[in-house]
Every structure is written in C-alpha cells, then in structure tokens.
Amino acid sequence: MFDHRIICEEGFRNVSDAGEVTGFEFLARLPYYRGLGLSMVENLAVTVDGEEIPREDVRFSVRGRSWTLDELETCYDDRWNFGEKATITVKRAGGLPAGRHKLKLAERLRISYLPFVPTTTFETELELAA
C-alpha cells in the first residue's frame, strides 16, 4: 500500500556543506499502515538516472537525528513513524544538475509477521528544486 507515495513530490534538492555542493536529498515515507522501529529497515536502495548509489553513501534522517544504513540496523530506540517524511541524503560531490531526474527508491523492510522480507520499489521523475 502507498507504493506510489514512498517518494514525496516536494523536498528534492541539492545539499551543501561550507559552500560546497556535497550531494542531494529527498523525502520518503514507508509503504505501510503503521510505523517501524529503525532496526527493521534493512535497506533503502537509491537509483538516480539509472545509476545505483552505493549503500554507504545513503543517510537517513528523522526529527533531527541521522544514521547511515548500517547504523540503522542496530538502532533500537527510534522509529520511522506512520506517514512520516524522512530525509534521504545521498553523498555525491557536485550534487545533481538542475532539471528533471529519474529517482528510484527500493525500501526493504523486515516485517515480523511476514514469512519473507518484502521490498517496495517506486520510480518517479522529479524536478530538482532550486
């Protein structure tokens, strides 16, 4: 459910550190009717314009806290809440050029009652905000 809503339409932009563009970010939600403890978020695979982003270059942030995907796996004291917009930041020197980009996100979540670990994938085209 909500498969087509896991990437938010707003919030897609380059990010800078000390005047230098270091990557880009976008907002994402869970494809789920509830939230999930962060240790159960197994992977957030990002692809931009057909290029797969290495796992170690992806960071996840909610409410001012931030984790690498490896750190998420052992985080037992915070959650990705129902419908909550998390910021997914991708390290990429120079960020992305202005204009439209194909953005794909695959969320792999460990759901206790399911006999398998589902991955929900959604791809969309978004305009990079100025």
């Binding site: 459910m1 909500f2 498969d3 087509h4 809503r5 939600r29 009717y33 509830r34 939230g35 999930l36 403890g37 962060l38 240790s39 159960m40 197994e42 796996e73 037992y76 004291d77 915070d78 959650r79 809440n81 129902f82 419908g83 909550e84 460990r110 759901i111 206790s112 009652y113």
Partner: protein, 336 residues
C-alpha cells in the same frame, strides 16, 4: 440467546486519509461518532507516533481521553504488533517478548481499552505468560484469527488449548471477517488486471475461487496455460484466502470479544461484494455475541493506484449495512 452487538470502527479504515494528513485524530473520531459508531479501535503505533520504541507523551493520552469525552465514543481495542524480528538474524528472546506484550497491556489500559489485539503469529506461551498482568490491568488479549488461518487450523486450536489450560479469561480471539471470503473481490481482480494479468486469466482465477476449487489445482492450471507473470501473483491469493463458514465461530464464542468487520468493497446497494455479512450477523446473534463489530476497510490498497480512496464513504455504507442487519434506526447523518 441474547446478544448485544455494538457498532465500532477501526481507524485502520482511514489510513489513506491519515497517512496523507487529510484527517487528524479528531476528524476520525468525529466521523465515527457522526455515524453512531461509538466504539473506537486503533493500531496504537499508527495513531500515536513514537509507540512503542520512543513512547507517547502524556498530553497525547490526555487528548485521546478528551476526544472520547467530547464525542461520546468508547475506547475498544489497541492493536499491538510485537516486533519479534527486531534483531536481525535472531528472534527476540521469550522474556523480552513477554515484557513487550506487558508494555502494550499498560498502554492499552492507559488509553482506557478493554482489549488489545495480538497478531496471529505470536506464540501462545508468550500470551499465556502475559495473561496474569493483563488480568491485573483489566485487559483481555485477543488473538486475531486472520486469513490464511481460520478456526480449524491447528495453530488456532493450539492457542485455544493453551488458553483453556491456563484457566484464564484474559485470553481470547478477535476474528477478522476476511476469513469468510465467499466471492473473489472485484477490486482485487481489477487491480491485478491493471498490473498486467490477461483478463482471460483473471476470469479463470476468479471462477476457480468462486467454484471453491483447491488452490493447488488452479495454480497449476494457470502456470500451464499462461506461464510465469503477474497472473501467478493473482492465483497465489487462492492459497491465502478461502470461503470458510462463519458458523465456525460458534464453538469459540465464549472467547470472542471483538470483531474486525474487514471489507474490500461496499456497493451502492449496501452489501459487501465478497463477504456474507447477513450470515455473519445471523451467526453472531445465534451465538449470543456481546461486543463491538468494528469496520475495517481494506479496499484502500486495491484501488489507490486508479482512483481516490473513499474511506469515509465506504465506512458509511458498511455502517448503514450494520444498521440494517441489526434493525437499528439509522442516524440522520448516515442517511444523508
């Protein structure tokens, strides 16, 4: 036997609206109250951000009680999840699972709930170990009997035996009416066709389900005739759903304390397309059921790709059907 069937709603029904921020908690409660559906069920962690890992601020609990008072609604059930796969590669230890259930018992009690819902996959021994604490808090833990499981499945029988042996009234069942799927849901079929299943294959699978054929035969036929593809996903639903009889609830009635009125599509003439609610109500009356029957709209995920999800209208129609089946006068707001 005398029965006392009260109307309620699980806020699961409005998930599309709450996910998108189109309805807040007060909107949900007011909507239910206007329909005369005064029993409120929630999935704790859907309604309350932070639960369970972070916790819930006392102001949020106070707001909940204020809303119940303002709209004359009653807390019925907190559906808890128990994430026993919290640690990658190793199941949560038994004692920690019990402690987690106790936390949800406390949370349920704090919200004024009478029941908390356990997922069907939880081990009976975990619930038995938590039962004395539930008794102390005035809470009953109800195992959700949900498809593909059903009342004759050995796993459910094992639960029932464990509850009897424990000699406690704090453990029981919460049947989901999706177990009684008499007809292949139209909204499922149409979604599978949009996903690429050839219409002919979809018709074949639907007929196989409606003719009560053994799922394995239909799966094999579809593989031979159409080969791998989205049709295999559609035919897989026959392994997980079936037309069990609502009468199977009768043997378990003393331990049934809440009901999920699962539905996929309420038609304009106020019937559920695939679940026989007339039979369901006849059985509940015959068994002297006393408790709530809570709307649980699950058509949302089957139509969201093609249209706006109309949760409130769908729930309204189901509540009208409940009124008809119970011989209740329909609240004016429902008829309008």
């Amino acid at each position: 036997m005398t029965y006392d069937i009260k109307r309620g709603v699980s806020l699961y029904s409005f998930q599309n609206d709450t996910f998108l921020g189109r309805m807040n908690l007060e909107d949900c409660i007011r909507t239910c109250a206007e329909m005369g559906a005064t029993g409120i069920e929630i999935i704790g962690e859907q309604t309350f951000w932070g639960w369970p890992e972070v916790g819930v601020a006392p102001e949020k609990i106070a707001e909940w009680h204020a809303l119940m008072a303002k709209y004359g609604t009653t807390p019925v059930c907190h559906d808890f999840m128990l994430d026993y796969k919290r640690y990658k590669g190793q199941p949560m230890p038994f004692a920690e699972q019990v402690a987690s259930v106790k936390k949800d018992i406390e949370f349920g009690a704090l919200l004024g709930m009478k029941f908390i819902r356990s997922l069907v996959s939880v081990d009976p021994e975990v619930l038995v170990a938590a039962a004395p604490f539930a008794e102390e808090k005035g809470i009953k833990i109800l195992l959700e009997v949900h498809a593909p499981l059903h009342f004759d499945h050995p796993w459910i029988l094992r639960h029932a035996e464990a509850y009897e042996k424990a000699g406690t009234d704090a453990l029981g069942f919460l049947p989901d009416m999706g177990v009684f799927l008499y007809r292949y849901p139209r909204v499922w079929k149409e979604r599978f066709i949009r996903n690429g299943v050839p219409r002919e294959a979809a018709d074949f699978i639907e007929a196989g389900f409606n003719d009560r054929r053994l799922a394995e035969y239909v799966v094999n036929d579809v593989m031979l005739k159409w080969g791998p593809g989205p049709q295999m996903g559609m035919v897989e639903t026959l392994r997980h759903n079936a037309a069990f009889s609502p009468k199977r609830m009768l043997d378990f009635m003393p331990r049934i304390h809440n009901i999920h009125a699962k539905f996929y599509e309420m038609t304009e003439d106020l019937v559920e397309f695939s679940i026989p609610y007339d039979e369901v109500f006849a059985v509940l009356k015959q068994g002297g059921y006393k408790g709530h029957i809570c709307s649980e709209y699950e058509g949302n995920r089957w139509v969201e790709d093609a249209q706006e999800v109309e949760s409130v209208e769908q729930v309204r129609r189901q509540q009208l059907m409940f009124c008809n089946l119970l011989g209740e006068t329909m609240p004016q707001t429902l008829v309008a």
